[in-house]
C-alpha cells in the first residue's frame, strides 16, 4: 500500500487525516482507490475527462508525475504520493 500525503485543504474530505494508504500499482489506481474510499475527493482530484485537475500537482516521492508517466506512473509499496494544490496566503 502506497502512502498518500493529504494537503490541508483536502483533509476535511478524508475525515481530517494527514496521511492515508491506498492500494494500486499506478498513480491513477492509487488516487482512484482514495476517491472510492472518500468520494468527496473525487471532484477535487479528477477533471470530468478522468485526468488530474490541472490545479492539483501530484508527486511520486519528490517527482512530478506529469514529468513521469502521469496517472500511469508505476507505484511501489514503499512509495509516497504527495498531493499538492496551490496555496496562497501570507495571512494579512
Amino acid at each position: 500500500m502506497a502512502t498518500i500525503r493529504i494537503p490541508p485543504v483536502l483533509r476535511p474530505a478524508v475525515g481530517g487525516e494527514k496521511e492515508l494508504t491506498a492500494g494500486g500499482s499506478s498513480v491513477g489506481e492509487v488516487l482512484r482507490a482514495l476517491a472510492d474510499a472518500h468520494p468527496e475527493t473525487q471532484s477535487q482530484l479528477f477533471a470530468a475527462d478522468g485526468g488530474l485537475n490541472r490545479y492539483v500537482n501530484v508527486y511520486l516521492n519528490d517527482g512530478d508525475v506529469r514529468v513521469l508517466d502521469g496517472l500511469d506512473t508505476a507505484v511501489g509499496e514503499s512509495d509516497t504520493l504527495v498531493i499538492l494544490p496551490a496555496m496562497a496566503g501570507g495571512a494579512r
Partner: protein, 393 residues
Amino acid sequence: MSPSGAEVLRQIKSRIDEVDPSSVHDQLSNGAVVIDVREPEEWSTGHIPGARHVPKSYFESRIEGTVGDRSQHVILYCQSGVRSAWAARTMIEDLGYEHVESMTGGMTLWKDRGYEVEVPRSLTAEQRERYSRHLLLPEVGSEGQQKLLDAKVLLLGAGGLGSPTGLYLAAAGVGTLGIVDDDAVDLSNLQRQVIHNSQRIGVPKVDSAEETITALNPDVKVEKYPVRLGPANIMDILPGYDVVVDGLDNFPTRYLLNDASVRLQIPVVSAAILGFEGQLSVFKPYDGPCYRCLFPTPPPAELAPSCGANGVLGVLPGTMGLLQATEVIKLILGEGEPAIGRLLLYDALAATLGEVKIRRDPNCPICSRDPESISDEEMGVFPDYEAFCAGAH
C-alpha cells in the same frame, strides 16, 4: 644561538616559490586565486583587482573558507613581500596546499610598475561593528556586506511573512526595503505580525513597519507603497528591485506578480502558509521554473482558502518568513544553493521539512518566451479568470 628574524625569512624565501608582479599581472585571468594578506586598513587603501582579502592575523583560521581546494593555484601578496612569504610557508608546510606563490615586492612594487589598483568602498567604523558577525564569515565579509547595503528588496506585504522577513533583512543591512501594503495594523495581526506593536493599532502598516525598521537599523532606507498591488501599478513599483519577497494572499495577484517578474527578470522568493504548514520556493526567471510552471491554473475558490478564514499558528509565518529572508540574502550574496526548481514543504506539527522538484515547463505560456514579448494585457491572466474571480467574491 637562535637565528635572526632576517635569517629565518631568508630560509623561508628559499623554501617557497616567489613570483614577480608582472607575472601575477599576466595570470590574473588564468584561474589563480590572488589573496591579499594585509590588514583591513591597508586593504581599504587599494588592492589588486579581483583579489580576495584574508588578513595575516586571521590567516590560519580563514584561509580554508576562502580556498577549499588544496590543489588550487594561489598567489599571496602583502605590502613588501615579507608577510606573504610567511603566509605561503604556512599554507604549504602547515596546511598542505600544493601550489602557492608569494609575490615579490608586494603592493609597493605592483604600484611602482603602474598596474591597476582597485580601491574598495569601505564600511564606516559603526558599520564594521554592527555587521561584525557578518564580516567574520568568508561567505559574506565586507564585500558581501557591501552587496547587502547596495541591495533593493521589495516586500509584498508587511503582514505575517513580511514582518519577520523585513525585520531580519533590515538587521542584516539590506540597504533599501520597499514595502507594499494598503492595510492598517489590527489587534488580531499582533499574534504573528511582529514588526508592529500594540501602540500602532490603526496605523498604516507601511508606516508602522518603517518606524520599527528605522529604529532597528538606520542604514536601511524604506520605500513605502500604501497601495494594493495590481495591474495598474505593478510595472511602476517593481523595476529597480533586485529581489521580490512574496507573501501574497490571493491568486490573481500571484499570477500578475509572476508574469511581471519574468518580464523584468527579477527573482521572487515566494512562500505560502496555511494552518501548520508552509511552502517555499525561489522563482528565478529563466534560471528555473516560474510560478506558472508549478501551477498553470489556480484552484477553484473553495479549494483556495485564505488564512484569515482558516487560522494560522502564529510562529509559522515567522519560520517561513525567515526561510524567505535567508533565500533573499543568498541571492544577493550569490552564495549557496537557492531553492530554485524546488518547493520546500514545512510541516510544523510533524517537525519535517520535505521538498519536491519543480521543472521548468518548456510550454509555459510565460517563461518559455522572450521577456519583451510579454504584454501588459496578458499579465496576470489565467484560464477561467472571470469564473475564478466571480467565485472568490
